[in-house]
């Protein structure tokens, strides 16, 4: 893998953002809306009950971490979709660009764009709503790392879906985080779910993250073996997603879909 082609993919995204500040707004806008909305809900719940639960940490923390995962996923897919929207595939894939270099460029772009969103969320959540991450301590590292890797895995998988099914299938990938949220136990323990949903949750690394988060905030011991298993799952899924993207790329080259990709009616 060469660094210059990877740099080319990243540079293209930087140029886009520099030339159009409107592209930067979505990095902040939705996370700010989420943090403000859930921040006030948490503040209200804290004010009306004596449940002993710190809703700011439980709800706002969960929203912040879930938004972080969503940003990572969308960072990859939006960078990929820029090439779909500009019908740039023929120029890109007729260049001596390896698929690993292309995907690496998308991942680096995603890290950059999601870092902005995370920073905005942290500033808002800590300064306005008093969310503190000190109770989490070193647990913060596996939480962020695991969600980051899973976000990459889903972003790469979603990009493979669009590559395989064409530009119209972009609408299939936007709701993916919302579809996964009920299974991931973002706001409630996994035990709340019916058995079949718990089975699905077991395959989702974020479910281990949010269980660990709740345990840590409630002062209970964190099941490190579960978190380790979640991390292993996330790593396996990112490798699997990259393999799927590679397989789909070979398929669209073999079938002629890539050569005809500029046509919207690729099905």
């Amino acid at each position: 893998m060469k660094l210059r082609p990877v740099g080319g993919i990243v540079l293209r995204q930087l140029y886009l953002m520099r030339s159009s500040p409107i592209r930067v707004i979505p990095m902040f806008a939705w996370v700010v809306v989420d943090i403000v909305l859930w921040g006030f809900i948490a503040r209200y719940l804290n004010s009306i009950g004596n449940s002993g639960i710190d809703f700011t940490a439980q709800l706002l923390g969960a929203v912040l971490f879930w938004d972080f995962f969503t940003r990572i996923m969308q960072g990859v897919t939006v960078a990929f979709l820029e090439d779909v929207w500009s019908r740039n595939f023929l120029n890109l894939f007729a260049a001596p660009l390896l698929i690993s270099e292309y995907v690496c460029g998308l991942v680096i772009t995603s890290i950059g764009t999601s870092a902005f969103g995370l920073l905005a969320m942290l500033i808002l959540a800590t300064s306005i709503f008093g969310l503190s991450f000190f109770p989490l301590g070193a647990l913060l590292i596996p939480i962020v790392g695991l969600l980051f890797v899973f976000g990459l895995a889903l972003g790469i998988l979603a990009s493979a879906m669009v590559l395989r099914w064409g530009p119209a299938s972009e609408w299939l990938i936007w709701p993916i985080p919302a579809l996964l949220a009920p299974f991931a136990g973002v706001f409630y323990p996994i035990a709340t779910l019916p058995t079949w949903m718990q089975t699905v949750a077991a395959a989702l690394p974020p479910s281990y993250v949010f269980e660990a988060l709740r345990s840590a905030l409630a002062g209970r011991p964190v099941a490190t073996d579960s978190l380790l298993w979640g991390g292993t799952l996330a790593l396996a899924q990112v490798v699997l997603s990259a393999a799927v993207f590679g397989y789909v790329h070979r398929y669209v080259v073999r079938s002629g879909l890539l050569a005809r990709y500029s046509a919207e009616n690729v099905a």
Binding site: G7, Y15, A95, P96, L97
Partner: protein
């Protein structure tokens, strides 16, 4: 004895089948450095399918493509590093400026001394005054010049040009033809050129291949072929082939 220039493109028994439909059938040809070869044929003849296979964005059902001796199926990245292309249907990102597009593709092609190369290409294609203009707002003729600049970024040994002058005014088209002719004469690269403008083909190409229904029906010097086949002009020959694609095979015409 002067040895022949090296072969930059070798296409052997290339075929592509989409389901039951054959798009390209047993196509073989080669291009040497310094040579401009025209790939002609009516719409749907298989020109773009052939070019897509040479570019590595479409797998062949059978046969092989080698660029500068490198098999595209086995050494794709190395082969593509020695080729480049410009086509009206392969536009660059419209939301990037001319210089940004060229810089990004310069990185993708790992062009050495990229800054100097970009400046030289901007001058060569009279794009200096448009360097900070967004590609999407350029006229189609200006976009074509940017596409050509991108196609020459890596000093390709094989250049694929799919209707490179289709959007240009006569003066700009002449300039491009002269530049590409000069490029070939310098012996820097071999060029595969598709066009529906038979006047242009006669002016530019050393050799033409007539493709119909995925097969090469005729091959030869564009200035002599019409006479050899009872046509007055290349255009007349083209029309004849397009309307009667089941002409005798290529071997019979040799």
């Amino acid at each position: 004895m002067i040895s022949a220039p090296p072969v930059v493109l070798e296409v052997r028994a290339l075929s592509k089948q989409f389901g039951a439909m054959p798009a390209v059938v047993d196509v073989s040809f080669s291009i040497r450095r310094g040579e401009i070869v025209g790939l002609l044929g009516p719409n749907g003849a298989g020109k773009t399918t052939t070019i897509s296979m040479i570019l590595g964005v479409l797998d062949a059902s059978s046969g092989s493509v080698s660029v500068a001796g490198l098999d595209i199926g086995q050494r794709r990245a190395q082969a593509l590093a020695r080729s480049n292309f410009a086509a009206t249907y392969a536009t660059l990102p419209g939301n990037l400026t001319v210089i940004q597009n060229l810089r990004v593709f310069g990185l993708l092609y790992c062009v050495p001394a990229l800054g100097e190369r970009l400046e030289a290409l901007l001058r060569q294609f009279d794009l200096d005054h448009l360097r900070n203009a967004r590609y999407g707002v350029l006229s189609s003729g200006e976009q074509t010049r940017v596409n050509l600049a991108k196609a020459l970024l890596n000093r390709p040994e094989l250049l694929l040009l799919d209707e490179p002058t289709a959007s240009l005014d006569p003066s700009a088209a002449l300039s491009i033809r002269q530049q590409m002719r000069a490029l070939a004469q310098q012996g820097d690269c071999g060029i595969l050129w598709t066009s529906h403008n038979m006047y242009e083909v006669e002016q530019v190409c050393d050799r033409v291949l007539f493709l119909s229904r995925g097969r090469i029906l005729l091959e030869g010097d564009p200035r002599r072929l019409p006479g050899q086949h009872g046509a007055r002009t290349l255009e007349e020959l083209f029309i004849h082939i397009a309307r009667e694609p089941l002409a005798p095979s290529r071997e019979e015409h040799r």
